[in-house]
Amino acid sequence: MQTRWIRISLLLLLLVVMVLAAGIGAMKIPVPEVLRILAYKAGISVHPLPDVAMMNVFWELRLPRVLMAVMIGGGLAIAGASLQGLFRNPLADPMLIGISSGASLAAVLVIVLYSFLPAFLLNWLPRYYLLNVVTFAGACACSLLVFRLSTTGNRTAVASLLLAGLAITALCNAFIGLITYTANDEELRNITFWSLGSLGGASWRITGALAPFIILPVIVLPVLSKSLNAYSLGETEAHYLGVNVRRLKIGILALSTLAVGAAVASAGMIGFVGLVVPHILRSVTGTDHRQLLFNSAVLGAILLTLADTVGRTIIAPAELPIGIVTALIGTPVFITLLLKQRKKLGGLETA
């Protein structure tokens, strides 16, 4: 089975990339040492004991960061692939249904209004978590609003979903502009860095908080892949094939919102992963969502881990924001793919 081999090799590649990424940085940790630390932490006795400094760097800094990159990359890519299936459009992106703009607006509000917030709230929720929680809430609220706007009775029209998403995005951007206009220099800097994305805040707490929001969609979305395939024939046709279309739409939207909302909340805006990863896979394995969704998650994890490794080492000791890296790498890849595809189709127009 060719499809099984693609999946297995992607998973192996992910493991290799994770081990390598965890070793690369200001303190180099060789691969055998990484394995020894992992064995030691798993309770297996190793001789000699791993170097304490290396172990601390690995366990407190590198590992949570790598895991965070894996989860965010996987979550963004699988959400992108699912939304593209739902919109029956390979160009769909979480941006389209307002998730990203809702998250941005919430983040900008927190950054600018931070000093006006009542003290008890700040004692209860430290600044970093406040940003995470509010951003996530903003993403969910916007996605819900877009969904409500495009639903009449119990029918959700995909075309109005798109239009409502665009309208809400425009509105959010207007508010963001308004708030940015009143922001001072430091706040502006924070806003800019947030919108470029960064995994610099990685810690076990953030990684742990992120995990359920990513793991749930990565497990459940592939269950919907048969329905998504049928859905690509058309809504009525999916109904004829036994798909509960309404439940499918709600499921895809809710799970994608969870993944993207959590990703944006913990790392800011990271573009292109959700768009490029499914596109690369579709050009290799076709659209069959039974392979596409899970493979997207794995390839997304690989690419984001690589991008983060590049971002934090290329201008060390400074860090290049990961959003810049993904866009710098993603755009040429995307354009190359488009050109290649155009050649392959030989002028035949396919949507």
């Binding site: 593209q84 029956r88 459009n89 395939n229 690509s232 024939l233 004829y240 798909v243 035949l348």
Partner: protein, 274 residues
Amino acid sequence: MIRAGNITYLAGKQKILHDVSCFVEKGKVTVLLGSNGAGKSTLLKILAGALSPASGTLAWKGKPYSAISVAAFARERAVLTQHYGVSMPFRCSEIVLMGRYPHFTGNPSKQDLQIVEEAMRELQVDVFADRYFQSLSGGEQQRVQMARVLAQLWPTHENDTEKFMLLDEPVSSMDCLYQQKSLQTARRMAARGFAVLVVLHDLNLAAQYADEVILLRKGRLIASGDCKTVLQASLIREAYDYEVEVVYHDDFHFPLIVPAAHKKQTFLLQTKTA
């Protein structure tokens, strides 16, 4: 097997179907005829369970549609619709496999894959199995979709034939050979016990393959019954405002329907005022 009683359907304020009652019987090919906009596709969608009528009753094997789940109905009823906007690149074998989706969870069984192959052979699209659906011509795409419909209903054992196949203009893009072949396939399935409903425009194809005909005009039923009683010049004129001659020939067991305008004898084309 399908019993529709007093179906009325409204689109906004406009009545698309007025009080239509009909049957689709097991073991027979029932052809739905009518002019453009007569309500054929709407009636087909209602019988397929995709649209709910404003009033009227619908039953499949004696069970009201409202009591049948979407998933359970999909195992017994398949529909070929007119337009497939398959927007993403799918291989033809994947499209046909979708017909088996209602029958398995997780991965397809060996039997499912075998059925896909047989259904593709039946419509002679097995050579396209690895081609992308979009790269096929319109007629070839229709045959692949028809193979998917067959795969959905394919009997897995001797008595597994209580199925309902609905085909909305299944041969509109096919050449004359495959028009015949596809409708022969529909016939064979009816012979095995399926209830088959086909929307057609070509009166001669209808005459050739129909056991029963349902004739609609402006959302009303004007005739239904066996092929020879419905396919009469007077009823066809009423349905289409179009003059035909229904010719019987000893060598054929079905009537031939010829436009009267081609008769050598001149006559006035009758048009009726609504």
